[in-house]
Chain length 136, copies 2
């Protein structure tokens, strides 16, 4: 888990998956990526998308977000950062907040867990949804 196998073959599918993931600022779900990739690789299967996302997340090439909601989301940005999720439309965006090392430290002291990670997620209404607030 700390030293994942860094060597996987970069097949056409994986390459394009990476490119599409890298080109969006969003944090797409597997299905959204499937749709994006399918424009360039019409015969790709959903299973391949899931398999490769999972694989690339395991190898640390991409990040599998541990955010709320019922779908998994992926991110080409693997540097630590936090997220904010719109509670109306479900969109997930990055939010710049200083990493809270002291919180992690104090958490580590209070538990007998071997802490390997943390994540912070804010939720709220995004500007778009605030506009159309009373509708829908």
């Amino acid at each position: 888990m700390n030293a994942p196998d860094p060597m996987i073959r970069i097949t056409t599918q994986r390459q394009i998956l990476l490119e599409e993931l890298g080109k969006t600022k969003n944090h797409p779900t597997a299905c959204e990526l499937y749709d994006m990739v399918r424009k360039r690789l019409p015969r790709i299967g959903l299973g391949t998308v899931y398999r490769n996302l999972e694989l690339m997340a395991d190898t640390g090439i991409i990040l599998k977000l541990e955010v709320g909601g019922s779908q998994k989301r992926f991110d080409a940005e693997i540097e630590p950062h936090y997220h904010i999720r719109c509670c109306r439309c479900g969109k997930v965006e990055n939010i710049e907040v200083d990493i809270i090392q002291d919180i992690v430290q104090s958490a580590a002291k209070k538990t007998s867990y071997d802490i390997i990670g943390h994540h912070v997620e804010f939720s709220g209404e995004c500007p778009d949804c605030q506009d159309g607030s009373s509708k829908i």
Copy 2:
């Protein structure tokens, strides 16, 4: 969302659901609760469990946790607190960390979202899983 309807009938099913949820220190999934409740109410349906958990979460009687993992988890403790999830066995426990108001403040400044909540989740290996570490 801020003023949820506080008045729902406390039926037998809801009462027992609440009792069972309150008596565990874990953060059970709907299925786990279903199993617990079924010992006292053998004919209860899974649908009822889901419907009532959802309803009670909406009314603010209980908390629906926004943690990672593929299943929703529920909590009778509605005061704000944070969680730590074992990355091996998936167990979720409470962790006592001071609420980080300043982080929330600074987050609010950096985004045009109307922030209504946040949650922090640590992940790591729980003591039990550390013991049996190399097994499984």
